[in-house]
């Protein structure tokens, strides 16, 4: 904005509403101001249309991340519940069943709030689309919730000393309880893993580039979170499997994240390190490491265990938030779309593969 002595006579300008796109123009070879904004990267060879994004970020906000976290917690918890059911650890079973259904319920609500037309959430079950992770996920969530729900209702009924007037239904409920727990557990791992595919099966550069390993990060994160929740809710004596799961999950998470980032296109991986999401993910790793160690070493102490569990839950949450926002950021900057694409196109051409370019001379 240029300034003159006369500007004081003018009403103040309202702040500019930027609808989309980065500021300023970034055209031509060199992209000098591109490098100004991203000092960590060597001078990129990159042209774009006034710095506007090529792909669009989905309208997903924090509720979606909450859903991812809770979906993971729900899945892991119902696995713990099944294990406890089989290993006869009633407290762990009860807590895990209730955790599973609560997480799934709250997660589903978060998912619905993020819809543009929440009143139409039932349309998610309108069709079964094998090509749509969201569709499959909806069915998985539905099936999982049914199983986990029945199992949890039975637990709640027991906790309330069978005061609910269920009549003959109680018998059915008790009979269905264990099979329902199995059903929930069958859909548990898919529930924890599909969200990674949901993100990766997009044109959002960072998510798509992470497609090989993101499921591992997500299931690890789910495992450590549900384990963490388990050691918070359950007394030390029955929480040992949860502790073990938390430790395994934490280890897996740290390893999978490293592997994932190393195997990604370096440019597409950049948003995972930078800005808010980078910060979030660094904290996530710290919390996971601390929580994992705490669970491993101090899990015998209820206080330490609870603190470790909380750290793990927070770490897991930060992972999802970090990944979500890193992806959204990668969509907002055309560089993350254009550069990797140009590179892979050039690589294919160098390898003599020239038949599959969208740009053709004729």
């Amino acid at each position: 904005m240029t300034v003159t002595e006369f500007d004081s006579y003018r009403p103040p300008e309202p702040p500019r509403k930027r609808r989309r796109g980065g500021k300023g123009r970034r055209r031509g070879a060199g992209g000098a101001d591109g490098s100004r904004e991203m000092p960590m990267v060597p001078e990129p060879e990159f042209t774009s249309y006034y710095g506007r994004p090529v792909v669009k970020a989905p309208p997903w906000e924090n509720p979606i991340a909450v859903y991812f976290v809770l979906g993971g917690v729900a899945g892991g918890s119902s696995l713990l519940a099944l294990g406890a059911q089989l290993a006869d650890l009633p407290e762990l079973r009860r807590n895990s069943r209730i955790s599973a259904v609560a997480a799934a319920g709250v997660g589903a609500i978060a998912l619905v709030t993020d819809l543009g037309r929440p009143e139409r959430f039932l349309n998610m079950l309108r069709t079964i689309k094998l090509t749509s992770p969201m569709s499959l996920g909806s069915w998985i969530l539905a099936a999982f919730s049914t199983g986990a729900g029945v199992a949890a209702v039975s637990e709640v009924d027991r906790m309330t000393d069978c005061r609910a007037p269920l009549g003959p239904l109680r018998k059915v409920l008790r009979a269905a309880e264990h099979p329902a727990g199995v059903v929930a557990a069958v859909f548990a791992a898919p529930l924890a893993a599909y969200t990674a595919v949901l993100l990766s099966d997009t044109a959002v550069p960072t998510w798509n580039a992470a497609r090989e390993d993101l499921p591992f990060v997500f299931v690890s994160s789910a495992a450590l979170a549900s384990g963490g929740l388990g050691i918070i809710t359950t007394s030390v004596s029955q929480a040992r499997p949860a502790r073990a799961l938390a430790v395994l999950g934490a280890a897996g998470d740290l390893v999978a994240t490293q592997v994932m980032e190393r195997r990604m296109d370096p440019v597409a991986a950049e948003p995972l390190h930078e800005g808010g999401p980078g910060q979030t993910l660094r904290w996530s790793r710290r919390l996971v490491a601390v929580g994992g160690l705490g669970a491993l070493l101090g899990g015998g102490n209820r206080i330490v265990a609870a603190a470790s569990g909380a750290a793990l839950l927070a770490g897991s949450a930060l992972t999802r938030f970090g990944v979500l926002h890193a992806g959204l950021n990668s969509a907002a900057d055309p560089r993350y779309t254009i550069e990797p694409q140009k590179r892979r196109l050039a690589a294919r051409r160098r390898a003599g593969i020239t038949h599959d370019s969208i740009t053709t001379a004729g």
Partner: protein, 339 residues
């Protein structure tokens, strides 16, 4: 796992031939009639805070929920023109499919292009070496392998009998997955609009009609509603110079190939096609473009790939991960139960 992407021949699942656009940016005059005609027909809300967008004469920015045709304006210097010519020549030398002028020019093709009767052998490049102003009307690509369609969980997006991809406003619940699924950044969820509706009245002078389809994913329908009545899409009908052509996709591709060959013969080596190749990452597009520079100059991705192509592999990896989670739980119980 079976291949999940559509093959080009799957698309003709009805008796109708596949329809598409050919947008010839070399004759676009940047008038934006397509943008207005589109909005007017589809009753899309206007898409602006009424401020200059700092991008030449482009003040609508990009395709989105409300703007389904978007005209890009790019001002280029002589050096950039030379680079464009260079990259065009590089394309030719790669030996891509369909290189070179067609052996004989089919006289039926190219509506609006009358075979030359004067410029027979003029092969010198046109002289605007110092500066040029590119204009190009972008639109939904109506891909053979449409990312948005594949990831839509509700069936709101569907493949029409004309091979186009359309959102059903009454089905979509606005989950937004399609927005992420599109490699071209075309589809978008409509937000509340900029002007709050005064009334619900439509087509009434002096009254602001309500914004429709808020919260629903929106994009070009290739005027599906007009198409079922055998009418031309609004943008193509309005286009003053026939920069936007509409017809059977096969014919559009043929016209495009003929036109690009013609321009190359005239020395415009920067001319190239975008989306005419059925082997590309999205299986070819229903909307084919003739560009005069690299696609990213116009805001188009240089090597788009439908995410669904990798979906089987992703499912596989997710399956392994899920199995790993099961195994880890088992281990946890085994380890945790040991004491």
């Amino acid at each position: 796992m079976r291949q999940l992407t559509e093959a080009p021949d799957h698309i003709a699942h009805h008796e109708h031939p596949r329809k598409g656009f050919f947008t010839d940016t070399s004759i676009c005059i940047g008038c934006k009639a397509c943008e207005v005609a589109c909005k007017e027909w589809n009753r899309n809300p206007h898409d602006s805070a009424f401020e200059l967008l700092e991008s030449s004469y482009d003040n609508t920015g990009s395709l989105g929920a409300d703007t389904w045709r978007h005209v890009a304006f790019v001002e280029q210097s002589g050096q950039q023109i030379e680079q464009a010519r260079e990259s065009g020549r590089a394309l030719v030398s790669l030996g891509m499919p369909g290189i070179g002028p067609p052996a004989s020019r089919p006289s039926s093709a190219a509506p609006g292009i009358v075979p030359s009767d004067t410029a027979s052998s003029d092969t010198t490049p046109p002289d605007t070496p110092e500066f040029r102003w590119l204009m190009s009307s972008d639109v939904c690509k109506h891909c053979t392998n449409a990312g948005c369609l594949d990831v839509c969980p509700t069936g709101a997006l569907f493949r029409t009998e004309f091979g186009t991809v359309v959102v059903q406003d009454d089905v979509c619940n606005g989950c937004g997955t399609c927005v992420a699924g599109c490699p071209f950044g075309v589809i978008e969820r409509r937000s509340d609009g900029i002007v709050a509706p005064k009334t619900e009245r439509d087509f009434t002078p002096g009254e602001q009609a309500a914004t429709r389809n808020v919260g629903v994913a929106q994009k070009c329908t290739l005027c599906y509603d007009r198409m079922v009545d055998d009418q031309t899409p609004a943008c193509a009908q309005a286009c003053p110079t026939t920069s936007i052509k509409y017809g059977d996709r096969e014919e559009m591709v043929a016209t495009a190939r003929q036109r690009v060959a013609e321009l190359q013969t005239q020395g415009m080596s920067e001319a190239r096609l975008y989306g005419a190749n059925d082997f590309d990452g999205v299986g070819g597009t229903g909307s084919v473009f003739l560009l005069l520079d690299e696609p990213e100059v116009y805001g188009l991705p240089p090597d788009p790939r439908v995410p669904t192509a990798d979906l089987p592999q992703m499912f596989k990896r997710a399956g392994i991960a899920a199995a790993g989670m099961l195994a880890a739980t088992a281990v946890a119980f085994v380890a945790g139960g040991r004491r």
